[in-house]
Symmetry: D2
Subunit: 295 residues, 4 copies
């Protein structure tokens, strides 16, 4: 495995592609808007001017795109990734998308003798930069084994969780928990503030007991400061919670708590704040409670 095509050089894709270069791979990048490709070239990669060109001589193709329709647009169709990737190559989609689409991609790949993995990540932009992502992988054991050198250049916790789609399902469960924990933390903080209790000290006690969570550790500072520069954008999280809802519907599950949290995240987006950090869910609880939110 030497030549890797990398499609989607955004917040996550750019540092991931650069890490692959650093690890010694020959990375051919493609992105709709051009500057991202030039940055990759500056980092030691090569430029392609279309998806077809990028994948034409690749052993592995990676996509890191926003949502299911984007991945379908890039992967399928006559000009698409699968149409031009050489038979026998491997395709790894690392975007967070609907598990049903991941399953469909695996089937489409099989028809062209291309093995497909769904390998969404967590860890955010910092994790992408420092090559310390968690990677949840769905697909066959053989395909997983082939991709391991690539994953090793991108992350530290790399787990094969099941067959095609399983990676995306685990990522959906991740986003369910994170989205819910954020909404609850916002509600707890407003409860403390409204009662006149200094929240910093209180949250320290809470962090040490059964109420503790990584969201509390990492996000309460931003919430207390009302500082919502995006680490993970609310609109991406709203998209992920729609994936959760779709999964629940297909499995005929009724999931009340995350449904409520999803409405709050949707309200962040509906209010025009989709480009803020997902911690901005606090602003919607403030709004409902008659407090004027900062943004």
């Amino acid at each position: 495995m030497r030549v890797i095509a990398f499609i989607g050089l955004g917040t996550m894709g750019a540092p991931m592609a650069a890490n692959l270069v650093k690890a010694g791979f020959d990375v051919v990048g493609y992105n709709r808007s051009r500057p991202a490709v030039e940055n990759l070239v500056a980092a030691g990669g090569r430029a392609a001017s279309s998806v077809a060109e990028a994948v034409a001589s690749a052993e592995v193709a990676v996509t890191m795109l926003p949502d299911s329709p984007d991945v379908e647009a890039v992967a399928l169709g006559p000009d698409g990734l699968l149409a031009h990737l050489p038979a026998g190559a491997l395709y790894v989609d690392m975007s967070s998308i609907n598990p049903a689409v991941a399953v469909a991609l695996a089937a489409a790949g099989a028809q062209r003798d291309v093995e497909v993995l769904d390998a969404p990540v967590s860890g955010g932009e910092p994790g992408a930069r420092s090559a310390s992502l968690s990677i949840m992988v769905g697909g066959t054991a053989e395909a997983f084994a082939r991709a391991e050198p690539l994953f090793a250049a991108l992350g530290t916790t790399i787990v094969h969780v099941g067959p095609a789609g399983a990676g995306q399902t685990v990522k959906a469960a991740n986003q369910l928990l994170v989205g819910g924990h954020l909404a609850l933390l916002a509600e707890a903080i407003l409860l403390l503030e409204a009662a006149g209790v200094a929240p910093e000290g209180a949250l320290r006690v809470l962090a040490g007991g059964l109420a503790g969570s990584t969201v509390l550790d990492r996000k309460s500072g931003a919430m207390l400061a009302r500082s919502f520069a995006p680490s993970f954008r609310a609109d991406l999280h709203a998209k992920d919670l729609r994936i959760v809802a779709d999964l629940a519907r297909r499995s005929s599950l009724v999931l009340p708590t995350v449904s409520t949290a999803a409405q709050l995240m949707n309200a962040v987006v509906a209010r025009g704040n989709g480009d803020l950090d997902h911690a901005a869910v606090l602003t919607v609880v403030e709004l409902l409670s008659g407090r004027e939110p900062t943004p």
Copy 2:
């Protein structure tokens, strides 16, 4: 500080009183039902046959009772704790009750020259046994200082979080987070199971990222095994979430996510399972989703 009256020798109160004996205090215990008092005597304490008798010569009185009305019944009225505790003594309520009642107790104490602290705990029965509770204390700095030797015999994380009622407010925030995290964990586990993903491995990945929480670490095993022997009873948690709702109402806060989680906990109780562990919230999500829950 030598003589401590201890009222309420239940799941939590019994090991706490025993720890005070071990630490060298002269503990006079009272409980409505008698066997609990005899156990304390066996552990080296003394028995009282009424609240009045228990507190008559105490320097500190402690209560550890289920709910606000119980504490009011014990503390107020002509036969109550405050009527018989010597002037100058200290009264520490360690039950989880409504902050508004805690504030009222502090005021009632002040009229009789008794300093009052609200000092609810977290850590459960294991924490009570091993004297490793977290204790969230509301009241004056002076009263807190007086109580510290006592707290040191009961817990390890001991924090003065604010004036009267603040301890209970922080405890309410704790229960908000824990109750919500449990409901979300139940929903995530059902999502994984329904999609056919082995949840053990998946939850290990999730635990390492932003989705991690103490609830996930400590409660997912019980949920996966559908084993709900009580560590903390669902009916006590439902009571605590009513305190959260009442606090929210008084502060005119609208808290949608915990409201939803509270309904699920109420449904556990309504179904007659209030004496199961609060992790049994999973059974209600199963029920809504057409899966037959075990209990």
Copy 3:
């Protein structure tokens, strides 16, 4: 039955007392703020300067007050209504309050040989003025028979629905339905508007089918016009939905839909709009959806 003491001469009480005067009763009114009493005198009633004075020689006492604590404050205690109402008289509370308090009032009355009815109303200020209220009555059949001439002067639909507290329970069910219907109508209107469908015509079709409701008939005009001059205040409705929640809790019922609607009504109040009409629940749905509400 000739002399009626009437306590609480507000939006509802004032026209009701006036209608009793018109019907030939000797009405002695009391209200905390004085102008309301003077208006009653102008309408042919008599003034009292305390609750005790008002009820001292009454055959029937009526209260029409905001909430449970208000009724308790007026009815109980040494200066209260029950302490001064002659034995053998009848006490009719027409406020919308907690059924549990209504039951307690009936018990307190029984101790003083006073029969008590709970008789909350629906129909709003217009119904109060035109003596066309619906009256839901809880209490004994005898007491109901005694009160019928009085009810006949106030309303048109007068139903004895059960024992003490039953009137308040039926009123709670009424407010459950109305509060929920308002929230749903707001959501339907925003759905139509956002899709660019002219809502007036659409709502006319909906009104004729299974979607029809009195709330749709009477409130959609105000919602479409964003005109929220109060017919029934949002803060009173929020209070009534708290009564619903309390009733549900006591009966261990979990009622998800009205809980959600109650949160929206609470948000109206939390935003400082408790004095607007309850139809202003529309503004909260607008806010969540990123539309700037008018008030």
Copy 4:
């Protein structure tokens, strides 16, 4: 307009097609399963053995199918309705489907010189039998005028509510209200029953005031009797509430109350009761409240 092709002869389609025959139209019917076609022939219609055959010489084609994918399957593709309907003909889809699909059908029709109307109905099977449906029509004024004779044979309230898709949007608003009203009625009935108030009398009072609704008039009998023989199936209503959710998402609306009601309807389906009447939403509230539901 003489020859009408009618595709989808189910609960609604069968009586509607029969009414068209009675009104003098030459009706050619097609249905996947054969007996329904034979029933139409018995009623005076004609049989077709494929969609293509049914529409080949029709002036108007009507579809009455369960859901969006069914309509897409029948209308689009090389063997589909639009491929074989003569240019200049009219296509009226009377199913309840996603407005976005209705808009797409109108566009697909325009490319083949076929005018398309979306014309969903309300009134249920009784309304279909008695030709008293309400019909909400989206499309051009010209197409609406052409279809009026056909609509006149099927319903009594026939309203042109806007351009393509508007009929489906109004139907979605209808289902939002009906689904919500059912859930609220269930909650009100359980509140009354649990408090020991005889619900029949209470509901009569409620029906006369602001709480009144067509759902209360028509569905409370079935709920009180726990008799859920289907008039409108819960799974169809769950489908309609998914359309509402999709519409809300596309318009970036957050609609909390109907979201909650939709979860209850989804729980009916998840429990395997999708073929019961939508009033069976009561069983889910019973379940949450620890009452054993009948079905």
